[in-house]
């Protein structure tokens, strides 16, 4: 490696990296500290002499208790989880099959179809939410989890297809050719040989799709109306703000609890998530 002087390493490496870490993580610390500070400390004037915003001597769980007492927060968590799991499952299944076909099979218009799926990958949800709301209404799906379970795949399927197609292309095609000679049909070779080998790719796509679903906001905001049917992001926005009044303690408690499951899952699959992330932009 290129040799550096000691002070240079501090100026060019340690200090910037520390600033990055602080900048990135501070909002989460802020969430945490707000969620456990009593209201009296939260709403203290910014110039007050006794203001100590970065810590508290009287941590409290009152906000969490309020959150659970006044809202159906556990229900939101369950809704979010259920919708994310089912839509991820559907998208993975579709993406696996479509990705395999695009990566391996020769058929007319393969190029065109691949391009169209890539283009839909780039269509943002906010372009189509108004007509989609109409369609959801026409299908009588409004205010049911199915409204989201069926619409989330619009952005998850292209992503899963794209990612898995890339993964399949890295698997030598001789493996399935050999399986077909060994006695498997095309379909059998795909299911018995290629899918098991693609498990890391499937995990990556699944984790990434799960976080995308958990994160989704605009469809959930528009398609769901009853408080007990909402997902965490929508519930927090619509049920914890009364008029112009923000209940910051509860809001931050909700934000924190709503983040924990996805962060928890992420922590177990960091490498897969990163592979999904970097794979998502590969050509």
């Amino acid at each position: 490696m290129v040799i550096e002087r000691h002070w240079k390493k501090w100026v060019y490496f340690y200090i910037p990296l520390t600033l990055f870490i602080i900048g990135t993580l501070f909002p989460f610390y802020w969430m945490l500290i707000t969620a456990v500070r009593p209201d009296a400390e939260l709403y203290r004037s910014w110039r007050a002499v006794n203001n100590t915003p970065f810590w508290t001597l009287q941590p409290t769980l009152a906000h969490v208790q309020d959150l659970l007492a006044r809202t159906t927060f556990p229900r939101w968590l369950w809704n979010t989880f259920f919708i994310a799991i089912v839509s991820t499952g559907i998208s993975l299944a579709c993406g696996l099959l479509a990705g395999y076909a695009l990566a391996r099979l020769r058929f007319p218009m393969a190029g065109l179809l691949g391009t169209s799926i890539f283009v839909t990958y780039l269509v943002p949800p906010t372009l189509l939410f108004i007509p989609l709301a109409d369609i959801v209404r026409n299908f009588h799906l409004g205010n049911t989890p199915w409204a989201l379970i069926l619409t989330y795949p619009t952005f998850l399927i292209p992503f899963c297809t794209w990612l898995l197609m890339g993964y399949f292309k890295t698997i030598p095609k001789e493996l399935e050719e050999c399986a077909r000679i060994d006695g498997a049909s095309r379909f059998g070779a795909m299911v018995r040989i290629i899918f098991p080998i693609a498990v890391p790719g499937i995990l990556s796509a699944g984790i990434f799709a799960f976080t995308l679903s958990w994160n989704e906001f605009i469809y959930a905001l528009i398609f769901l109306s009853s408080p007990e049917r909402k997902t965490v992001p929508v519930g927090v926005v619509s049920e914890l703000i009364r008029g112009d009044i923000y209940f910051w303690g509860q809001l931050m408690a909700g934000a924190l609890l709503g983040s924990v499951p996805v962060a928890f899952i992420y922590s177990f699959f960091v490498e897969h998530y990163v592979a999904g992330l970097t794979g998502s932009v590969k050509g």
Partner: protein, 306 residues
Amino acid sequence: MALLRPRDVQQPVLARLLDNERALAAVLLAPAVLILAVFIAYPFVMGVWLSLSSTSVGNPGRFVGLQNFLKAWNDSIFQTTFQNTFVYTFWATIFKLALGMWLALLLNRHFRGKRFVRAAMLLPFIIPTVLSTFAWRWMFDPTFSVLNWLLYRTGLIVTKLPFLSDGTWALWCAIVVNTWRGMPFFAITLLAGLQTINPDLQEAASLDGANAWQRFWHVTWPLLKPVTIVVVVFSIIQTFSDFQLIYVLTGGGPANSTHLLATYAYQIGVATGLLGEGAAISLFMFPVLLAVVWIQLRYLRRLEGA
């Protein structure tokens, strides 16, 4: 020589069908294509129709031509919104790229706890935007802002800054939050790109007498360009069509000064119920997205050709 017919004519029809390459492709693609057709292609067509009609909630509406587009174009809030969307996208992308590149270069070095730091750096990207934006909104709170407190205590300001109560300030706050959220995506993908660059090249360049900046500019950057372009395109699309961040941080306020196309379309189309006009406003995104996608496709083609 006796030519026997293939012995497997009696095989189940389905099995025979699935062994045909084209039939299998059709079967495998059907579910994905069906869902995408129903929930993307059809809404798109319907969106175009809505944008050309006077439909509102409870009123089927009739064909009005380009009236919705013209109305929006002459609306001063829309003009601000349109401009905001470009300003927001441009600066947020620049910041994300610059900081993301810097962070990627830092993370590309060897140090203790690297895996942990890398994992932690991705948190803003993992945590639902709505939830983390609430934390920012609370940090920007007009009365209780911790940032004001911090700046005041360090003696940098004497009076509080109008983070979200002034239109210009608010838009820049949104750009900051967007940068904070999207920067890890840049950093991690660029880092993955960096890791594919052979470290020998760096050493060779430094033997040739290149300093750190020259090494970056003449060796690293050209090799990183393909990844960078793709990441930037993705980011532009996401930023240009952003909704949740503005919705939570400013709600388009103060006085409709920080709307983006998506939030304004929501306000007109969903909150006010003018579906036709709302659809028209979101379709204003389309040409820009189309251009970006087109560039992306062309670029991918060129890569494949090379």
